[in-house]
């Protein structure tokens, strides 16, 4: 009798355990394979970008290419990436003059002549693909998230358009797409980088100021670049884990 009961309990335990495990596994089976690109394994990558201020010439190629690649509306206030021009007066460092005409889409009009006494430079900006992103933290329904390879993305079928993430982003990189009434932002050209291409903005940058980097790839030039240059991220005091690394970022840049 005892042996039967013990046997029964063992069998029941195994049954429950296996059923439980099978149930969990079934969830994965039913969910389908999340990575359909044949050779792309998301966890092998950790994407970021390097922007070299010393190389940016303010051409606006990146802004135009991004809009073309990602079907970004041409309306005011819809930019996945943009370029800012800083004009710093050495006698008034607290008040830099900044402009970004149409995000830099058509380049920049001349304001100063070189040698006029102001320090002028261009700063391309985009989503910083934060590792501890405040925007994904505040989404009430899990419609924006960080992918396993470090890209912050938006699920347009679930976004409510509540705009909390737009408020929470310290960098101003999110906007509401007036056509879908959902939030939109730079995806680091996820549809390209998962197929071995580089981001559109990096592809067309005439001086190579913008470069896509894969921090998990030991052969990526980013590691050497970080060793050899003085690197900054935007708003480091907010501890967002930003993965866009700037070389030559002046203290005046906000």
């Amino acid at each position: 009798m005892d042996q039967d009961r013990r046997g029964f309990l063992q069998d029941a335990g195994k049954f429950i355990l296996l059923t439980g495990a099978a149930t969990i596994a079934w969830d994965f089976v039913v969910a389908g394979a999340p990575e359909q690109a044949p050779n792309y394994v998301a966890t092998d990558h950790w994407w970021g970008m390097i922007i070299d201020i010393d190389k940016c010439i303010g051409s606006g190629n990146c802004v135009r290419a991004c809009k073309a690649e990602n079907d970004v509306p041409r309306e005011e206030g819809c930019f996945r990436t943009w370029v800012e021009r800083y004009r710093v007066d050495p006698d008034d460092l607290d008040h830099p003059l900044v402009d970004s005409p149409d995000g830099g889409y058509d380049g920049f009009p001349e304001i100063d002549r070189p040698g006029d006494g102001l320090k002028v430079f261009f700063v391309p900006k985009l989503c910083n693909q934060c590792a501890d992103s405040p925007c994904t933290q505040v989404c009430p329904v899990g419609a924006t998230f960080e992918s396993p390879d470090g890209v912050v993305l938006v699920d347009k079928t679930r976004c409510l358009g509540c705009r909390y993430c737009v408020q929470a982003c310290p960098y101003g990189c999110r906007y509401i797409d007036p056509r879908t009434h959902t939030v939109d932002k730079c995806t680091l050209c996820y549809h390209r980088i998962t197929k071995g291409l580089t981001a559109a903005c990096c592809e067309v940058c005439p001086t190579g100021a913008r470069q896509l980097v894969d921090l998990k790839n030991p052969e990526d030039p980013v590691h050497q670049f970080i060793r050899e240059h003085k690197i900054h991220v935007l708003k480091p005091d907010l501890a967002t884990g930003a993965k866009v690394y700037y070389n030559g970022l002046d203290g005046a840049v906000r």
């Binding site: 005011e76 206030g77 819809c78 930019f79 943009w82 800012e84 607290d94 008040h95 830099p96 003059l97 900044v98 402009d99 970004s100 149409d102 995000g103 900006k125 405040p134 933290q137 505040v138 989404c139 009430p140 329904v141 899990g142 419609a143 679930r158 976004c159 409510l160 358009g161 509540c162 705009r163 909390y164 737009v166 408020q167 929470a168 982003c169 310290p170 960098y171 101003g172 990189c173 999110r174 906007y175 509401i176 879908t180 009434h181 959902t182 907010l238 906000r254």
Partner: protein, 391 residues
């Protein structure tokens, strides 16, 4: 770009949260404040305010029913708002909305009202005919036990619900404060004081609203105002206001003293774009003046008529001031660029989905609902109307 001064990030040209998002904290504040007033009698045994107990609960209910409306009209996809119930992101304060709202509506307010009104509902049910009989029968869930033992149970449960309801009311409005206070990207919003300030200004607004409604309804019913009740309400309004004002001043003084990197930008904004709504309306007219008026009634012996007039004025100014406070937080937080180098303006339209017209309709709607509630659930318990014969 019209109205832009200095530099703003290209995506900041349009404000994200409109006047509708100003309304939501104002409305939930009224709900929480009205409930706290009701709990004064139920839990803290301040019997003087009993005449306003049921009115306060009905006021809270009327406003709570309307509360989701401004949010739905703001969302890009209101038809997806059910997602907050099925996949709430627990890291997000906003995800709490669905559950806190539902809990407060069903678990606290509706239950409390039901248990308190049950005896009257049963009496009305039994003495009514036709459709009215069916309606009140359904309201009572067809349970007709109003023996003393049953009523004792009702009273105990009601008391328990009120006790649970007080932290629930704090949660209902406190999380709204946290929604703003936890955004590190926005220096105007980011402060741990935000939920506390929101809660106390909610109490102030809710108490003032019920006080004004009580005065107005007494006048309409041509019934004398219970001055003992009114004086007590005004006293608690005064105390709550002093605390609220102290908290707001603490935040302000702290900011001015520390003068962090955002201070220059915010200071300029308050002195220019926000001067009328913040300094004039919120602080002077909406806080300091009502506090002085109420202080006068606490310290000087005044006639009944004088006190009534002062209470009415103070109450009205309070509501305007608390609305201005919500406006200054929500809109003010979006008037400056996160680059701290520029400002934009809020262009409020009139007859669009998030314009002034829907805002007005949304603010009028709770009073319409309250009028219906006052008929269905008359709060003046001792009147003959309850027997169902006259109404």
């Amino acid at each position: 770009m019209a109205g832009v001064q200095g530099f703003i990030y290209p995506n900041e040209v349009e404000l994200q949260w409109s006047v509708l998002i100003v309304l939501y904290p104002f409305i939930t504040g009224l709900v929480a404040g009205a409930f706290i007033l009701a709990s004064l009698e139920r839990v803290f045994n301040v019997s003087a305010v009993k005449p306003t107990y049921r009115l306060a609960l009905l006021t809270a209910l009327a406003f709570l029913i309307v509360a989701p409306l401004p949010l739905q009209m703001h969302l890009g996809h209101p038809e997806r708002s059910f997602e907050m119930y099925i996949t709430p992101h627990r890291e997000s304060a906003m995800a709490m909305f669905g559950f806190v709202y539902l809990w407060y509506l069903m678990g606290v307010l509706v239950l409390e009202i039901w248990f308190d009104y049950r005896k009257d509902l049963v009496l009305t049910w039994k003495s009514a005919t036709g459709v009215k009989r069916q309606f009140y029968g359904a309201l009572t869930l067809w349970a007709d036990d109003i023996s003393p033992e049953a009523l004792r149970i009702d009273d105990k449960i009601g008391r328990f619900i009120t006790i649970v309801g007080i932290p629930s009311a704090f949660l209902l409005h406190g999380y709204v404060g946290f929604i703003f206070g936890s955004v590190k990207a926005n220096p105007w919003w980011s402060t741990p004081l935000m939920p506390v300030v929101f809660i106390f200004s909610a109490i102030v607004s809710g108490v003032a609203a019920v006080m004004l409604l009580y005065m107005g309804l007494c006048w309409r019913r041509r019934v004398p105002i219970d001055m003992g009740c009114l004086d007590t309400i005004a006293k608690y309004l005064f105390f709550a206001f002093v605390i609220d004002f102290s908290l707001e001043m603490l935040d302000l003084i702290h900011r001015i003293y520390e003068a962090g990197d955002s201070f220059g930008t915010l200071d300029f904004m308050v002195k220019t774009r926000l001067f009328v709504s913040h300094i004039v309306i919120q602080i002077c007219l909406g806080t300091v003046l009502p506090i002085l008026l109420l202080a006068a009634t606490q310290m000087i012996r005044l006639s009944e008529i004088a006190r009534r007039r002062i209470y009415a004025a103070a109450g009205a100014l309070t509501l305007v001031g608390i609305f201005a406070m919500r406006w200054n937080v929500v809109i003010g937080g979006q008037l400056f660029s996160k680059s701290l180098l520029g400002y934009t303006t809020y262009k409020m339209e009139f007859a669009t989905r998030e314009g002034l017209l829907p805002a007005i309709v949304i603010m009028v709607l709770p009073f319409v609902i309250l009028a219906v509630l006052l008929r269905v659930l008359p709060p003046w318990g001792d009147e003959a109307q309850l027997a169902g014969n006259k109404a």
